[in-house]
C-alpha cells in the first residue's frame, strides 16, 4: 500500500472539580491562556501562524487562538471553546495513535500545571458531547489523498470517493463508536437508551463543508495544507476513542478503504438508500445486526457491509506491509467477534466496555432494561426542559401529560425517583469514562485492572513521541526548525504553518512543505547555513531553486542568475 500521511485533531472538554468535589464552569479560553504561558516552558515551541493562509477574517466569527507548534511537529491551539491538539503528520494508524496518546498526555500535564489546578482539579475529558445542552465537539481525522490530474477528473474521483466511502463510514461505528447514553433525536429518544456513537446524533448530511452545523458524513472542505497535488480528506464523523485498539481500527481501516477506492476496487460495494438514516440505525443497535437497505435492493447488516470492504482489502493487498497486515488482522478479528457476540470485545471497544462494565451492572442493580431506561430518559428530559429540575418532582399536569408514554411501555410513576437517579448516574459514568486522569478516569481504571487491552505499554515510546516527530514526514522539518530557532535564539524570526516555514527577519526565506512525505533535509540545511553564514556560504543558496524566497527581488534574481550561469 502506498504511503500517505494521516493525523488526528482532538478537541478536549475542560471542567473544574473543586476540592469540595463540586464541578465548576471554567473559561476554557482563559485556561488556554495559562497553557500558552506554560507550554513554552515545558516544550520547545514556536508560535503557529496560519492567519496568513486564511486572511479573510473568518477566524473572527469564532474564538480561535493560533497556539503553538511543538517539537514533535504537533500543534496545540484553541478553537471554539476547546483546547485542541493536532498530531503531527504520521504514516500509519499505529503511529498516529501513538501521537494521539502523546497529545492526551501533554494536554493532561498542562491542565495540571495551570494556576487554577492549585485550587482543585482541571478535568480533561476526551469525549464529544455534554448532556446539558447537547453540544458536540470533535475528533477530526485527516488523510492525504492524491488528486487526479485534471480538475474534471478530480471532481469525478471525489464523487466516486464519497459514494464508496460512505457505506464504510456509516458502518465503522460498530468498532470505533465511543458509546453514549440516550439520543438527541426526539423521534428515537423514547426507544434508544444507549447508542454506539457519540457523533451520530449530530450528523445531518451526506456531504457538506460545514463543521459547526449541517455536519456531514464526509466533510468536503478542500484545504490541502500541502501542495495542490493533494487533497486533505477531512472527516468529522468520528468519536474520540479512549481505547487505542478502537482508534487504530478507525484510522487503519479508513486508510485501507481509501487505498481500495484509489485502486478502483470497490465498484461492487452497494450504495445505501438513506445513509443518514442508516448511520443512526447502526448507532442505535448494539447487536450490530440491523439491516440496511441498499439501492440494489439488498438489506445488509453493518457487519456484512464491513466484510465487503475487508474481503476486498484481503484480495487486493496481497503483500501488505506490517502495519497494514496488523490492521487487517484486527479488522477481521473484530468482525468475527462482533458476529459471535459484541460483548466479547469488552476489553477493546469503547462502547462495549462502557456497556458491559459501567452501565449494565447499574441496570441490573435497578432491575430495569434499556427499553425502560429509554422511555424514562425521554420523560425525564422533557421534565427537565420544563424546569422541574429545581424540585425534581413533576406537577400533576406533567403526570397527566406523560402518563400515556409510560403506559405504552408498561411503566408507572412508582419507579420515577429510582429512574431519575439512574438517569444521572449513567451520564456521570459516561463522562467519567473519558476523564484522562489515571486516578479519576473510568477507562483508566479498567485499563489499570487489565480489563482493557493496553497496546501501548512502552512508556518510553509515548514520552519520546511527546518531544520527537515521526521520522518519515515533513514534521521532521518543522521539528528541526523549532530546535534550530531555540538553539540560535532566533525564534522570533520564524513563522510556522502546516505547509510552510518562513525563516529570517528582514530577509526571510520561505520553504513550502508541499510534499507531506518529504523530510526537506537538504533544503533546510542550505537555508539554515545561509542564515548562519558568511558571504562565502551564500553559495549554498543554489538549492533555493526549490525554495520560494522572499528576498528583495533584485537580490534574489542576481543570486539565481549567478548560479544558473555556473
Amino acid at each position: 500500500m502506498e504511503k500517505r500521511v494521516c493525523g488526528l485533531e482532538t478537541e478536549y472538554a475542560l471542567s473544574f472539580e473543586a476540592r469540595d468535589s463540586q464541578l465548576r464552569n471554567l473559561d476554557a479560553g482563559a485556561i488556554f491562556g495559562d497553557i500558552e504561558a506554560i507550554l513554552p516552558q515545558t516544550h520547545l515551541t514556536l508560535e503557529a501562524d496560519s492567519f496568513r493562509r486564511n486572511p479573510t477574517g473568518q477566524h473572527d466569527a469564532i474564538a480561535i487562538k493560533e497556539g503553538w507548534f511543538v517539537e514533535s511537529g504537533a500543534r496545540c491551539y484553541y478553537d471554539a471553546g476547546h483546547v485542541e491538539w493536532a498530531t503531527p503528520e504520521t504514516t500509519s494508524a499505529q503511529q498516529a495513535v501513538l501521537y494521539e496518546l502523546a497529545g492526551d498526555r501533554t494536554v493532561l500535564a498542562l491542565a495540571r500545571s495551570v494556576p487554577m489546578a492549585r485550587r482543585g482539579r482541571v478535568m480533561v475529558i476526551k469525549n464529544n458531547v455534554d448532556y446539558v445542552h447537547g453540544h458536540t465537539y470533535g475528533c477530526h481525522e485527516n488523510y492525504q489523498v492524491v488528486r487526479r490530474r485534471s480538475a474534471r477528473e478530480d471532481r469525478a474521483f471525489f464523487r466516486m470517493l464519497v459514494q464508496q466511502l460512505t457505506p464504510f463510514l456509516v458502518t465503522r461505528q460498530i468498532f470505533c463508536g465511543a458509546g453514549k447514553i440516550g439520543c438527541a433525536d426526539p423521534q428515537a429518544a423514547r426507544t434508544v437508551g444507549f447508542q454506539l456513537s457519540q457523533r451520530a446524533d449530530f450528523i445531518e448530511r451526506e456531504l457538506s463543508p460545514e463543521t459547526r452545523a449541517e455536519r456531514a458524513i464526509i466533510n468536503e472542505r478542500d484545504e490541502s495544507l500541502s501542495g495542490q497535488r493533494y487533497r486533505r480528506l477531512h472527516l468529522i464523523i468520528g468519536d474520540s476513542n479512549l481505547s487505542p485498539y478502537a482508534s487504530i481500527l478507525k484510522l487503519g481501516t479508513t486508510r485501507i478503504t481509501l487505498h481500495l477506492i484509489e485502486q478502483s476496487a470497490l465498484q461492487h460495494v452497494p450504495r445505501l438508500v438513506d445513509p443518514i438514516a442508516a448511520l443512526k440505525a447502526v448507532s442505535y443497535d448494539p447487536t450490530c445486526r440491523v439491516l440496511l437497505p441498499t439501492v440494489d435492493g439488498q438489506c445488509l447488516s453493518p457487519i456484512a457491509l464491513q466484510r465487503l470492504y475487508l474481503d476486498t482489502a484481503q484480495q487486493v493487498l496481497r503483500e501488505p506491509d506490517q502495519a497494514t497486515y496488523q490492521v487487517l488482522s484486527m479488522w477481521q478479528d473484530t468482525l468475527d467477534q462482533l458476529e459471535r457476540d459484541p460483548l466479547l470485545l469488552r476489553d477493546r471497544l469503547d462502547w462495549v466496555a462502557k456497556q458491559y462494565y459501567l452501565f449494565n451492572p447499574l441496570l441490573k442493580q435497578e432491575m430495569t432494561t434499556w427499553e425502560e431506561v429509554a422511555a424514562w430518559s425521554y420523560v425525564i428530559d422533557q421534565l427537565r426542559c420544563e424546569d422541574t429540575a429545581q424540585t425534581g418532582r413533576p406537577t400533576s399536569q406533567q403526570y397527566a401529560r406523560y402518563q400515556h408514554i409510560l403506559q405504552r411501555h408498561g411503566l408507572d410513576w412508582s419507579a420515577y425517583e429510582a429512574q431519575r437517579q439512574l438517569y444521572f448516574q449513567l451520564r456521570e459514568r459516561d463522562l467519567r469514562y473519558h476523564d484522562l486522569d489515571s486516578e479519576y478516569g473510568l477507562f483508566a481504571l479498567l485499563q489499570a485492572r487489565n480489563l482493557m487491552l493496553r497496546l501501548y505499554a512502552n512508556e518510553e515510546a509515548i514520552v519520546t513521541a511527546c518531544n520527537h516527530p515521526p521520522g518519515d514526514t515533513r514534521a521532521v522539518a518543522r521539528a528541526r526548525v523549532i530546535r534550530w530557532a531555540h538553539e540560535t535564539g532566533r525564534a522570533a524570526e520564524v513563522l510556522l504553518d502546516w505547509g510552510r516555514i518562513q525563516i529570517g527577519g528582514g530577509n526571510p526565506r520561505i520553504i513550502q512543505l508541499d510534499e507531506p512525505l518529504e523530510l526537506y533535509e537538504g533544503m533546510l540545511d542550505s537555508v539554515l547555513r545561509v542564515l548562519h553564514g558568511t558571504d562565502d556560504q551564500q553559495d549554498e543558496i543554489r538549492l533555493l531553486g526549490e525554495v520560494q524566497c522572499e528576498l528583495p527581488p533584485r537580490g534574489l534574481r542576481a543570486l539565481l542568475r549567478r548560479f544558473m550561469s555556473r
Partner: protein
C-alpha cells in the same frame, strides 16, 4: 507534575519513536489472544458459579463508586461545554 524538558541537541535525523512499535503491538495482540482464550475458559467456568462473577464485578463497582461524585445530577448539569469545531 510535568517534567521540564531538557533542551535537546540539534539532531539531523530525530529518533523515530515508532521503531519497534508495530512489533510491540503485535506481541501485545498475540499475548492477548492467549489471554482471551484463557479468559473465555475462565469465564465459562465462572458462568457456572455466578457468585464468583458477582464478587469480581462488586469489587470493580466498589472502586467505581469511590471515583464517582456523591451527587451525579450535580455533576452532569455542571459539565457544560460549548459547541466545538
Amino acid at each position: 507534575m510535568y517534567q521540564q524538558t531538557q533542551q535537546p541537541e540539534v539532531e539531523r535525523t530525530p529518533p523515530q519513536p515508532t521503531t519497534d512499535l508495530l512489533a510491540e503491538i503485535e506481541a501485545r495482540l498475540r499475548q492477548d489472544k492467549q489471554a482471551t482464550t484463557d479468559r473465555e475458559a475462565a469465564q465459562a467456568a465462572l458462568d457456572q458459579r455466578a457468585t464468583a462473577i458477582d464478587t469480581h464485578m462488586v469489587e470493580l463497582e466498589a472502586r467505581i463508586a469511590e471515583i464517582l461524585s456523591a451527587n451525579p445530577e450535580e455533576f452532569m448539569i455542571r459539565f457544560l461545554q460549548t459547541e466545538g469545531e
